[in-house]
Amino acid sequence: MELAISGKNLVVRVHGVLDVQTAGDFRRRIVEALSESGARNLYLNLSGLTFVDSSGLGVILGRFRQVTESGGTMGLVAVPEQLMRTVAMGGLPKLMPLMATEQQIQAG
């Protein structure tokens, strides 16, 4: 997982699996990065994500709540095609924009 901060935007590039084994660490690192950087907006680049289930989607939804409650926005970048059905069934596209590339992120 790589973190990039640009103004008020925190971009997290996620690699590997988001399930019950990895979701807790993923949550801690994002919560820490949000609080240390002072970023308001969170973008997850999922191009390196190989698997996600409800444990992973739950952490993403939890961060959506956290970010929007403090007035920020959240988006997903480069959702892999094979994970799209899972991401859609979890309701994420109804809540946040899906972007093809990081270039589509609005400067923060």
């Binding site: 399930d19 019950v20 698997f51 409800s54 739950g58 899972t86 979890g90």
Partner: protein, 149 residues
């Protein structure tokens, strides 16, 4: 047709959820499932085993989760069994909004229901839970009949 069967007894640990997914996906790959269908099977298995580890056994790594997988013709059957705390009200647990963990949002059973063709949940308080799921490939590919001239 004789079934191709795999049975697995695993410690109730989060790191074994990925192992369960890989085993079921490898068996499913012997049938005509598409890549998208195998992804759905992996999610459903992940949900069932995660429920056993987190809810059934409430994170007791010394406990055992059983996985029984069978491929009969084109039909994949996956059973996930624990002898944990059980579910008091199965119908309530299957409702989309139900979860004791606010970040999981009760999505687990929703994925099992939507990504598999059938889902049965047998559970009794303090006895455990048995989840049985079935799936067949949506498009059946006829077996190869040799070279066409």
């Amino acid at each position: 047709m004789d079934a191709n069967r795999v049975e697995l007894a695993i410690s109730s640990r989060p790191e074994n959820v990925g192992l369960a997914r890989v085993v079921v996906a490898a068996l499913a790959a012997q049938a005509d499932f598409s890549i998208a269908e195998i992804e759905e099977i992996k999610v459903a298995v992940s949900e069932a085993v995660t429920n056993a580890v987190i809810h059934g056994y409430q994170s007791r790594p010394e406990a055992t989760v059983w996985l029984e997988v069978a491929l009969r013709g084109g039909d994949l059957e996956v059973a996930v069994i624990d002898r944990g705390c059980g579910i008091t009200d199965v119908e309530l647990a299957r409702r989309p909004a139900y979860s004791s963990d606010p970040e999981r949002m009760g999505m687990g059973f929703m994925f099992m229901e939507n990504f598999m063709d059938s889902l049965e949940i047998h559970s009794a308080p303090n006895e455990g839970t048995r989840v049985v799921m079935h799936k067949r490939p949506a498009v059946s590919v006829p077996p190869a009949t040799g070279e066409r001239v």
